[in-house]
């Protein structure tokens, strides 16, 4: 059993958990769910909603209120159909932050007095994370950056967000090919014994690091054309032209659905507050 897990661990890094898979998940996360309820909402509304759920839980210690918030963001996360990888990262993240403490304290005879504070902390972290996941992966990057721009974030930031998503798949594919070059020509240590497996793991991590160097150089080479193309396409003009910003933002519209979403969230939060005062 133990050897099996070990084997899996060392082989999975490059095999099952491939760059191809990562690339697919990134794309899925960014653009694969543009037909969900969350994706159709106005980004400005969602950003306000996020501001509340991202900040307020830190200042409240009431279990009922936090539970209410948690249920709310859980529902929105499900509605946003977030990609599996992101949820996994979320799970691992929360657990390594505080969740393990909760388990450990339960294990070593902790009672309600130790468990409750830890549970509260875990809930706080979970609410913030899930709210971020809903907003940043439920919205496609363009709508998100338009929303940020409306609140006065510089145009460059919002362009960078959507451009990053544009080049990320390309970069990952190229990175994958470079890694494959290493695999085809490299000579990894044998990995039958335990020592071998550790060595193999180290070897793989080293290769991943080495592969960044050619990736950077290739990217630098490509970006020459991109920079010239941006100049021709008037990127610099747009940055100083107010009317361009107005045109970009004119696509944003608050609809009936947005108000409904806000109203439901508001009602739910109010109910949780009510519950927290009653119990």
């Amino acid at each position: 059993m133990q050897t099996k897990t070990k084997k899996k661990l060392s082989e999975n890094i490059l095999d099952k958990f491939s760059i191809d898979f990562l690339r697919n998940q990134v794309l899925k996360n960014a653009y694969g769910n543009d037909d969900t309820v969350i994706a159709a909402l106005d980004p400005r509304i969602l950003l306000v909603w996020y501001l509340f759920l991202g900040l307020v839980p830190w200042f409240v210690n009431n279990l009922w209120f936090l539970m209410g918030c948690f249920l709310l963001v859980l529902v929105t996360t499900i509605l946003a159909r977030v990609a599996g990888l992101v949820l996994l990262l979320f799970g691992v993240g929360v657990f390594t932050q505080t969740g393990y403490l909760l388990v450990v304290s339960l294990f070593f005879g902790g009672n309600a007095s130790t468990v409750v504070p830890l549970l509260i902390l875990t809930l706080k972290v979970a609410v913030c994370s899930l709210a971020s996941v809903t907003v940043f992966s439920g919205l496609d990057p363009d709508r998100l950056s338009n929303g940020l721009m409306w609140y006065g974030c510089p145009e460059r930031l919002s362009f960078s967000i959507s451009y990053a998503y544009r080049v990320l798949p390309m970069l990952m594919e190229e990175f994958q090919n470079i890694l494959l070059s290493y695999r085809m020509r490299g000579n990894p240590p044998e990995h039958e014994s335990f020592r071998g497996k550790v060595k193999y793991l180290i070897y793989q991590v080293r290769i991943v690091m080495h592969a960044f160097y050619p990736l950077m150089l290739n990217t630098a080479k490509r970006s020459r054309t991109t920079v010239e193309a941006l100049e021709i396409k008037g990127y610099r003009y747009a940055a100083v032209n107010k009317s361009v910003k107005k045109m970009k933002l004119s696509t944003l519209k608050v609809t009936y659905n947005d108000l409904l979403f806000l109203a439901v969230s508001f009602l739910w939060i109010a109910l949780s507050i009510l519950a927290s005062t009653l119990f």
């Binding site: 544009r166 085809m184 290739n218 054309t225 021709i232």
Partner: protein, 620 residues
């Protein structure tokens, strides 16, 4: 009316010792379709960048003379104004696309220049470029050809009077290339746009362009009407430009006194029909005998070079002799394409199988909806020593097949055998002694900072004794000794390919896979790589090339496998494939122009090279 007027333009890049453009004066009429040809590094791209103001506004340097585009002096206008006069599509067009969705990218420039109707302009440009219906698609859903059309649409959306394209079809298969030029012709004829292309494919120039301009050492040698320009065969060849094969054949025949001197050289197949009409077809038998001999020799040498045992060597020679004999039987008559079982049966008892696919299926994950099925029960086997060309349109699965073989992808179902052993449970690293894959994009093969280190890498990490010697030999063989300390990425296209080949055969693999070895190269470099590939025949055993380059296929391959929608639809010798109209039409294969010329003159003619054409067609 002249839309471009240039007087005494001289330009040098910052910190360059000598000017790259020298004293250029030129007029281009409105509505022209102009091709710019010239040697590598003669300043074609630089010249085009002076037209849209990138030079001198974005790229500085020493600029003298005047350039007027659509009546505007480029020195006095800014890049934005000029972009609305002259649109530009780069050779590496995919880097020109900056937005994630199709309509977004097409209308991006209009939005940036604050045009209120930017969306309509984008839609209109997409429709003009034949991309209607794809507006909401993400750019990674487009094929290479469609991506190019999108880059063009991005330029067209500003409604410029001039469109400049740098090597538009160099990365595309013939059907996509036709589409691009079809769109350009429409823009030129119906919408009155002036089109300027930098182009090496003279067959396309002959079919589409109105004028040709030859650049030499930063100056303009001449600008002439297309037919007249392409007939200047010797001048073009001196600049490494290859006129259409029809023109070259006629030129040689005229030199040998077989065509009258006063008759103008043909530049297209239609003109060739007239020019060659007095010649009679004579089937040449000697050629096949010669290839059989050559194969004998090469198989023996290959065996020697790879140090296989004597018995294997004998077998290998046998196999290729048997193949050659098989070819003799087939030569001349057009048979239906053989299923791969048939070929195997013919020489099955001689050749050992090097590669075998058994019912292999594979699908790619897709971002949305169903996974895309690439292979559905693929069966294919390749015997040791064969030189196989793998052809099929973009997206037919050629690269995927190679990645499967190299162990970089695992099949969803079915099994793959390499030299009789299943590769299911093997790691990629274990396969590298047996098989090697050279990528389409050589930059992805450079993992060290000098090409010497790159070629040595695989041998070094395996602690081979003669690593240094062998690296030296490989550098010598691919004429890279002087460049050994350079980073691979900074080499020219041809040098990069040669370095890639050197890396590929470093470990002396029995099976060599080459993915598009001649793509993205200008024709002169392509010829050079084709020569290198022929030279390599004696040091490699089994070789498989995936390619769109039919000249390469015809001159190099002994067996051709045609992939279409994840299945092998035809498999056989070049006569069996190109002689079979049903197959070529179904898959959209375009044989070399000289082959089409031969066929147009005589239904049975099968000439793949200019030499064969000249031998086959004699005076009556």
């Amino acid at each position: 009316m002249n839309i471009i007027e240039i007087e005494n333009l001289t330009y040098s890049y910052p910190a360059a010792a000598s000017p790259i453009l020298r004293d250029i004066s030129l007029q281009v009429e409105e509505g022209d379709f102009l091709a710019i040809v010239g040697n590598n590094g003669c300043g074609k791209s630089t010249f085009c960048k002076t037209l849209n103001g990138l030079i001198p506004h974005f790229i500085t340097g020493d600029f003298a003379g005047t350039v007027k585009v659509g009546g505007l002096d480029t020195l006095k206008s800014d890049v934005g104004t000029l972009a609305c006069k002259a649109g530009y599509v780069y050779q590496d067009f995919e880097n020109q696309i900056v937005r994630p969705t199709v309509l977004d990218d097409a209308s991006y420039a209009c939005l940036n220049y604050a045009m209120a109707d930017y969306k309509e302009r984008g839609r209109e440009a997409l429709a003009l470029c034949g991309l209607e219906g794809r507006e909401e698609d993400y750019i990674w859903q487009l094929s290479g050809g469609q991506t190019h059309l999108l880059a063009l649409a991005g330029a067209v959306s500003l409604r410029p009077e001039i469109l400049i394209l740098d090597e538009p079809i160099v990365q595309l298969d013939p059907s996509h290339a036709d589409r691009i030029y079809g769109v350009l012709r429409k823009l030129n004829e119906q919408y009155g746009k002036t089109i300027i292309v930098i182009e090496h494919h003279t067959e396309y120039i002959a079919d589409y362009c109105k004028h040709v301009m030859l650049m030499r050492d930063g100056g303009i040698a001449w600008k002439l009407p297309t037919a007249e320009a392409l007939r200047r065969v010797e001048e073009l060849l001196a600049c490494n430009i290859f006129p259409p094969q029809v023109t070259l054949a006629a030129h040689r025949m005229r030199r040998e006194g077989r065509l009258p001197k006063e008759q103008p050289l043909p530049t297209t197949v239609a003109e060739g029909r007239e020019a060659f009409r007095r010649l009679r077809y004579r089937a040449v038998q000697a050629a096949t005998g010669k290839t059989a001999d050559a194969e004998h020799a090469s198989a023996a040498q290959a065996a020697e070079a790879t140090h296989v045992s004597a018995a294997q060597a004998a077998e290998a020679t046998h196999a290729s002799a048997a193949q050659a004999a098989g070819k003799d039987v087939d030569a001349g008559h057009v048979s239906a394409a053989l299923a791969e079982g048939g070929t195997a049966g013919k020489a099955g008892s001689f050749g050992e199988s090097a590669v075998r696919f058994e019912d292999v299926s594979l699908s790619y994950r897709s971002v949305k909806g169903e996974d895309r099925l690439v292979f559905d029960h693929l069966n294919l086997s390749v015997r040791r020593g064969e030189k196989v060309a793998l052809i099929g349109s973009n997206g037919a699965g050629k690269s995927t097949l190679m990645k499967l073989l190299a162990g970089l992808l695992k099949p969803g179902a079915g099994e793959i055998f390499l030299n009789g052993e299943s590769i299911q449970r093997k790691k990629t690293e274990q396969l590298s002694r047996q098989i090697s894959l050279v990528y389409q994009n050589p930059e992805e093969m450079f993992i060290k900072d000098t090409i010497e280190a790159d070629i040595a890498y695989a041998m070094q990490v395996r602690h081979l004794e003669n690593c240094r010697v062998r690296t030296g030999e490989l550098l010598e063989r691919f004429r890279l000794t002087e460049l050994r300390d350079r980073d691979g990425r900074l080499l020219s296209g041809g040098q990069m390919r040669r370095a890639g080949l050197g890396i590929g055969i470093g470990l002396n693999p029995g099976i060599l896979l080459l993915d598009e070895p001649t793509a993205n190269l200008d024709i002169a470099t392509r010829k050079e790589i084709m020569r290198t590939l022929s030279d390599m025949k004696d040091v490699t055993e089994t070789v498989m090339i995936a390619t769109h380059d039919m000249q390469l296929v015809c001159e190099w391959a002994e067996r051709i496998v045609v992939l279409c929608q994840g299945k092998v639809v035809a498999d056989g010798t070049r006569d069996e494939i190109f002689g079979n109209r049903a197959v070529t039409e179904r898959v959209g294969i375009r044989p070399p122009e000289i082959f089409t010329m031969g066929r147009a003159l005589h239904g049975d003619a099968l000439c793949y090279t200019i030499d064969e054409f000249i031998q086959s067609f004699q005076e009556a």
